[in-house]
């Protein structure tokens, strides 16, 4: 086939590998014994997880007094971590749903692992409110409306905390469904290659007897699009509702109408940084650099810069409104945030989230793996501090100077945070072992994109008349495989 090559659009899969090679390369990591590197990393993350479990057990045994909270600062690490982890999850849904609806084909190599990340991040997030209850086994009883003998006394649907419960549980369920529906065709591929009888049974059951029938694909594609369409407003609603936990209160520094868009932008910002961290490692360890290409990483860097500036705009707007609004308390809160005893956390936040992502304006920076990797960590530190700043600095100096206090987290809180990182990374490492980390069917379907199909899409510079494929470029690209 004489495949015309467009130099305007970089290929999404380098080298135009045969279909079978894509299957092989994606499934190889799960069909062979894991490497020493995998075991080493897993040993470390599993240790964090175990430490975290010990800390959680201690909190349950001893009570919430093991935290460094006091009368003034009633929310500290717990809600900071909760909002942080929920935010991490948002990039997964953005990549899998929103970019799908916008026909951003570059999403196909990274959506599976980003969705996995979403699920694990939401589990990490959900842990904190559960622990915070003190008696987590009552969690469902307190939140779910069910007929009871207390009057009947029902949950209060006018409370944002109840909205949050519904938002997070719906988000987790729908993300899991979306993920599973996407996995079914790939699980069938795993089933058909399986040699071990147990593997055949397990993947046979999970793939639900998928055969690749086009009569099924018709329904499948429709449902996949519907789920993407449902997930898109869902993901925006989740962080909006999380932000109402704060915005509907009357605490200066929380009581702001800008919170919903501000939180959603921040969530996407931190989530993309986490996807970047994971994928930079995963593509190297799993040897899939030609499937997750520099273009993917570069696009993510651009999104990080864009959302980073949105977050920066929100920080500035908060200050402007606190001045323009004329409320003394509001004004003091922000003055104290930037210059008070916790100013260090504020300036960490600003330098990590607003200033440092500006390096991605330079192509050299956003195509350099070490720079990207460091930046992805910096952004996540910054976004963790953003939540810390919003929660703790707003609380620590309230209306009554006699009740002003400082917050010093205890070892229990630090270890619990470490434990959630252990849970997140251990789950992700296990995921790369037991499920295809890249959506095989989707990558196959876009393999020819840019090798063959790019001209069909709106190309700003391709208006050379006649709608002829972009043949005027010499087919010099090395990926002229067919």
């Amino acid at each position: 086939m004489s495949a015309p090559t467009s130099e305007l659009r970089q290929p999404l899969v380098l080298g135009n590998p045969p279909y079978h090679q894509i299957t092989d390369e994606v499934l190889r990591p799960m069909e062979q014994w894991p490497s020493k590197l995998w075991w080493g990393t897993f040993a470390v993350t599993a240790t964090w997880l175990v430490l975290g479990l010990v800390a959680i057990a201690w909190q349950q045994y001893e009570g919430m007094g093991t935290w460094g909270l006091n009368k003034t600062i009633g929310w500290g690490f717990d809600i900071t971590n909760f909002v942080f982890w929920v935010g991490i999850g948002h990039a997964g849904t953005l990549i899998s749903a929103i970019l799908f609806l916008f026909r951003q084909k570059w999403r196909t190599s990274i959506n599976r692992s980003a969705e996995a990340m979403t699920l694990f991040a939401v589990i990490c997030a959900a842990l904190f409110p559960l622990i915070h209850m003190g008696r987590p086994w009552f969690g469902a009883i307190w939140f779910l409306p069910y007929p009871n003998l207390r009057g009947p006394l029902w949950t209060n649907f006018r409370s944002p905390l109840i909205w949050d419960f519904f938002a997070i549980s719906t988000y987790f369920t729908i993300s899991a469904v979306f993920w599973f529906v996407g996995l079914v065709p790939d699980l069938a591929t795993v089933r058909d290659r399986a040699k071990h009888p147990i593997r055949k049974i397990v993947y046979g059951a999970l793939s639900l007897g998928w055969s690749g029938s086009n009569k099924h694909w018709v329904h499948y594609e429709t449902v996949y699009m519907l789920l993407a369409g449902l997930s898109t407003p869902l993901v925006l609603s989740v962080h909006t509702i999380v932000s109402t936990d704060f915005a509907t209160s009357v605490i200066p520094g929380w009581h702001a109408t800008i919170f919903p868009p501000y939180f959603v932008a921040g969530a996407i910002f931190s989530g993309f940084a986490m996807v970047l961290t994971l994928l930079i490692i995963a593509r190297k360890v799993l040897h899939i650099e030609h499937l997750i290409t520099m273009k993917h990483l570069e696009n993510m860097c651009l999104i990080i810069t864009a959302t980073g500036m949105m977050v920066g705009l929100a920080y500035a707007t908060e200050f402007l409104v606190s001045w323009y609004g004329g409320s003394n308390y509001e004004g003091f809160c922000f003055y104290n945030r930037a210059t008070g005893p916790m100013a260090w956390s504020y300036w960490i936040m600003v330098s990590c989230n607003v200033i440092s992502p500006q390096v991605f304006w330079f192509k050299k920076m956003r195509t350099s793996i070490p720079v990207m990797f460091v930046m992805s960590l910096v952004v996540n530190v910054g976004m963790w501090f953003e939540r810390f700043v919003i929660i703790v600095t707003s609380l620590h100096r309230d209306y009554l100077p006699s009740s002003w206090a400082m917050y010093s987290p205890t070892w229990v809180e630090y270890i619990t945070l470490l434990g959630t990182f252990g849970l997140f990374f251990s789950a992700f490492l296990l995921f790369t072992r037991v499920l295809p980390a890249i959506a095989i069917a989707e990558v196959k379907s876009i393999k020819k994109f840019a090798h063959k199909g790019a001209h069909g899409h709106a190309e700003p510079a391709a208006d050379h008349g006649g709608g002829v494929p972009a043949l005027h470029h010499a087919p010099a690209a090395p990926h002229q495989g067919v």
Binding site: P160, F166, I174, L208, T222
Partner: protein
Amino acid sequence: MSAPAAAQPSRFLVAYFLDDDGILAATKASRGAGLPIFDCFTPFPVHGLDAAQGLKRSFLTYVCFGLALLGFLISLFMQSYTQAIETPLWSGWPLIVGGKPFLPLTSFVPVLFEMSVLFAGVGTALALFATCGLYPGKKPRFSLPGTTDDRFALVLDPAAAGFDEGKARDLCQRHGAAEISWIEAN
């Protein structure tokens, strides 16, 4: 759907292709030549194959809308009932919270939205599996080697009107079939 009718033939003619363009062209040509297409089996959804095969749009969009509406109504009922409404059949328990109204519809919006999405998403996925007859433990009807990997199979129905083996073989070969063979259905 999972129980095949006794009248269904057990043998089918299958042409394997190594490329999506090949199966697309062959399917279009078969339909044009009046050959009865039973189904196509592909490792990924091939664009245009639905139309080439003469498949209709999925009806699951309507299912999705209906389920969303159901979730909306159920959560509207739950919230109004638990927060405010008293009837002879049940007694609600209006809670005074900060003097807010008992039936504030705007405060119900987040849960209304979440429940609509929850019902629609989970229900539509289940409807997909029900429509396609997919469930854990189901065996695919055909075992067509490579169709979840790198081969595209066009399955022709020999029992239907218009089937002509010679014509079918000739047509598929012209469109670059890698292999043409008979297969037994499970």
